[in-house]
Symmetry: none
Subunit: 250 residues, 2 copies
């Protein structure tokens, strides 16, 4: 059993359990604990895992507290894939709007190294981009603590003062009929950002496609690009209405 084989096995187990113990690995791979310890040390040095006392953890298990807030969020992998694709279109020098909401929030992790300006009404976005070279403009207005965002008339006026090359927005639901939201507060900001942008990206995981909510606030003409992991009959309908669909796989 070579080191490479053991390393693969360890990564497999790590993937399955998220964490492993030396004892467990030694028994599973049938080598001494000393060897396992050596393997883990090497692998940790290569960034393949996180070494703990008595074992190792998957790197991704070590989440920062901020990410914790959104851990409860559903469809995380889909959202991350969507945001990764969307972020690929963001170039240095861009000025972009980022909507509040859990999907758009995931965009932050992919733009931390970019030299761009972000205009947002989302407090978590501001927080997440701390320490990055990203310049932040925070929309002012009434603070909605439950949504961790700013909204209201002043906020809309504030947005109207700016212009961005791209807007990254989320909605509660999207069908061939149009866009749906769960609250009027969200709508006003979404519309304001869209109207001030050259190109509107809508970030929607599969659960949003074909879903309606209590408020239909606009037809599909608002959207230029739809980034989604969904792959069903509605897609062609969206495209026939002039939306470019960027598919991603989870």
């Amino acid at each position: 059993m070579t080191f490479q084989k053991r390393a693969n096995k360890i990564l497999e187990l790590l993937e399955e359990f998220g964490e492993v113990e030396i004892r467990q690995l030694a028994a599973e791979i049938d080598v001494s604990e000393v060897t396992v310890r050596r393997d883990l040390t090497t692998m940790a040095a290569n960034g393949l895992l996180y070494r703990t006392h008595g074992g190792a953890m998957k790197v991704s298990e070590l989440i920062k507290p901020v990410s914790f807030v959104n851990k409860a969020a559903v469809n995380l992998k889909a959202k991350d894939a969507i945001c990764k694709r969307a972020a690929a279109d963001i170039m240095d020098g861009d000025i972009i709007f980022i909507d509040c909401g859990s999907t758009a929030f995931r965009l932050c992790q992919f733009i931390k190294n970019k030299k761009i300006k972000v205009i947002t009404n989302s407090l978590p976005v501001v927080n997440e981009l701390q320490g990055s070279p990203v310049a932040i403009n925070l929309i002012g207005g009434e603070v909605d603590i439950t949504r961790q965002a700013v909204h209201g008339n002043i906020a809309q006026e504030h947005i109207a003062r700016y212009h961005a090359s791209k807007a990254f927005l989320g909605v509660d639901g999207i069908t061939g009929e149009g866009l749906y939201a769960g609250s009027e507060h969200e709508v006003s900001n979404t519309l304001a950002m869209a109207s001030q942008s050259d190109c509107v990206y809508m970030l929607c995981d599969a659960s949003k496609i074909g879903k309606t909510s209590y408020l239909k606030f606009n037809d599909l003409s608002l959207v230029n690009i739809l980034v989604t992991d969904y792959n069903g009959p509605e897609i062609t309908e969206f495209e026939s209405k002039g939306i470019s669909v960027f598919p991603v796989t989870v």
Copy 2:
């Protein structure tokens, strides 16, 4: 059970409840209270949570920069005494400005139960007032991450849209000659808030009295009320210039 696992567990519980007790954690994780205490100390040192007597609190997500937390710790008792006195003047129904800065920030703890509206450019203030009945209006504009506050022209314009009964401001220094600041950004917000308020409260611990800084931005006429723990010859000078001085003892 490794430290990493416990840390994750603690953060989860913190996320759920906002605050936790040592006893509760020890029982939940099944380790001794000493160990929990050690974990909390370590995590607090890393800025993952706030250590309290007997437990920990969720770290305010917007107060991550260590500099601010540290600065806030200087002259804490004096600042708290000053803010407690100032808060006594705040009545239900008031609309108030709260400046950014470590002194004015301490005001938050004394107004959490009041039914008022707070207009501020300070991110820590927004965070601190979460979950309270206080309505918050956040000044919009460019985010200065190091100061944890919003500045710029848009911010000034935003402030100009509002009017408050009282403004609670801080400065870097105050002498018989006037008011001093360490940065022009702070000045513009301070002046804007002062001009839109019926009554300007200046919150200054003793270290600020008689101190000058590189920028004298206004004379004393800006100030209506000075709340301070300082008790020296300058006080009569301030009073002779029309300022009401509210003394506090530490």
